[in-house]
Amino acid sequence: MAEELPTQTFRVTRADLIRYAGASGDFNTIHWSDRIAKNVGLPGVIAHGMYTMALAGRAVSIWAGAPDAVVEYGVRFTRPVPVPDTDEGTEVVVSGVIKEVTDDGLTKIELTATCHGEKVLSLARATIRKR
């Protein structure tokens, strides 16, 4: 009996990537320069993988009810999230399914994060302990 968690949608614009670069200290040029991103074979500027993981982590924290309820959280980055230089940017949609509730009170969640309907994360899993 897999329970589905409410889907969360996050809008991502270039301004968000600039803000995340500054806050995280990750100034990799592919996250702010179309020229350099295209030079390395990308369609253009892409979101930091860790930004996408942070958005999915927000969904996990919201479901868990508290940031300290998250016991374990891991993802694999499978596809880049291109962020066009428009007011709308793009959208990352995060959903989750409860896979298991263990005897010692841990809830195991499998996450799905998509951009334009394509999965951008795989093996995205969180373990939470409800307070």
């Binding site: 995340y20 806050a23 860790m50 927000r58 940031p67 016991v71 980055f77």
Partner: protein
């Protein structure tokens, strides 16, 4: 050039303490759109049982990414950063990071492999307080794409 396999299994001395500031947590939380009071307001955080504002779950990467330069910036490893993409990332928490923490990192290379012309390096960073209290373990797998 492949990565130097002799880095696998090696550990490095603990990094200098990173002092987690309240404003850095607020800045990071704002950047990911996390507006909940416990990330921003010390009173709200204390009411929720934290000693000060609490960091979102992926915040530790701010500390570990800088700490990992100890390994990744060593020319002997042979990593070409222009060909690196992030493969996997994982966090296992003992407790959340809070403002006021002074955190040290001990880096280990868990694994170095090559497959299909690509190189993979997995680092593990044990993040603890200066006093040795464990806080979070962070794994990061980087992929160095093969040269065209």
């Amino acid at each position: 050039m492949p990565l130097d396999p002799s880095f696998a299994g090696r550990s490095w001395p603990a990094t200098a303490p990173y002092l987690v500031g309240r404003e850095k947590i607020r800045e990071f939380a704002t950047a990911i759109g996390a507006t909940d009071a416990e990330y921003h307001d010390p009173e709200a955080a204390r009411a929720a049982g934290y000693p000060d504002v609490v960091a979102p779950p992926t915040f530790p990467v701010v500390i570990t990414m800088a700490a990992n330069r100890q390994i990744l910036a060593d020319p002997a490893l042979g990593l070409d950063y222009s060909r690196v993409v992030h493969g996997d990332q994982k966090f296992a928490y003992t407790r959340p990071v809070v403002a006021g923490d002074a955190l040290v990192c001990v880096n280990t290379v868990d694994d170095i492999t090559s497959r299909g012309g690509h190189d993979f390096i997995t680092t593990r960073t044990e993040v603890s307080t200066e006093g040795g209290e464990p806080v979070v373990t962070v794994w990061s797998k980087l992929v160095q794409r093969g040269e065209e």
